[in-house]
């Protein structure tokens, strides 16, 4: 069932927020992506933006509108958001 996006040479578009957006230098992070799991995505983002690594470890990953576990496979063309710890109210 593992999706392999390599034939598409895709870019994964990731929405980031608040302190995470600040660390990434913007609210959208585009990463070249050949397929993988949420854990792979975390590793890639941490490697690309080392300043975000600490907050990233405490953040939730949302795939197509639903919270996703680290083992979840990211479908090709998925809509990704990374949510740091919340502070509304």
């Amino acid at each position: 069932m593992d999706d392999d996006c390599s034939s598409h040479a895709r870019t994964l578009r990731i929405a980031v927020f608040a302190g995470l957006a600040e660390a990434c230098g913007g609210r959208i992070l585009d990463l070249p992506w050949a397929g993988g799991r949420v854990s792979d995505l975390r590793a890639r983002v941490a490697a690309t933006v080392p300043a975000a690594a600490g907050l990233l470890a405490r953040s939730a990953v949302v795939v197509d509108g639903r919270h996703a576990a680290d083992a979840a496979v990211i479908p090709c063309g998925a809509d990704i958001a990374i949510l740091p710890p919340v502070s509304g109210g």
Binding site: A18, V62, G88
Partner: protein, 162 residues
């Protein structure tokens, strides 16, 4: 009979939740939960505090994952109606800059009796602060800006079971 129907309509048609950029008017929330079946209405208003642990705040700024936050607020409102037997529930949260003293969040709960309305309001605020993807930036008196990210591990999924 009319009262029963009114209460049923409220439950099915009136969990109201919104993210707003203009100033919150608590009276609008109170009116949104008004119902002949209600004997108690609680309105809670959370305002931007001007001093935190001795440090002056100039203003707050909020941002959200808007589709998820709106869905989470609506789900929490509906969950509060079911859990506490409310007649109706309404919540609004500000986005953008919020001046000291202005409402950052407000909610209203109505119920046949006050215990449920008070308990639901407290429960909702706890859940909103812990789960809904909204973030606060403190702009301190000296001009420093700081996003607030509480030291907790990952948040539970919005709308998940308590």
């Amino acid at each position: 009979m009319n009262l029963v129907r009114a209460a049923t309509d409220a439950v099915t048609s009136r969990p109201s939740a919104a993210l707003v950029r203009a100033e919150i008017e608590p009276e609008r929330l109170r009116a949104a939960v008004a119902d002949p079946a209600a004997g108690a209405t609680v309105v809670f208003v959370g305002t931007a505090r001007g001093v935190t642990a001795g440090t002056v705040t100039r203003c707050l700024e909020y941002e959200a994952h808007e589709p998820l936050a709106e869905r989470a607020l609506a789900d929490l409102c509906a969950a509060a109606v079911a859990r506490f037997g409310l007649v109706a529930c309404a919540v609004e949260h500000r986005l953008g800059r919020v001046g000291v003293g202005e409402a950052a969040v407000a909610l209203a709960t109505s119920a046949p009796h006050r215990a449920a309305a008070f308990a639901a309001a407290e429960w909702l605020m706890e859940r909103i602060k812990a789960e809904v993807p909204i973030w606060k930036c403190e702009e301190w008196g000296d001009g420093r800006r700081e996003w607030v990210h509480p030291e907790a591990l990952m948040q539970p999924a919005p709308g998940g079971e308590p």
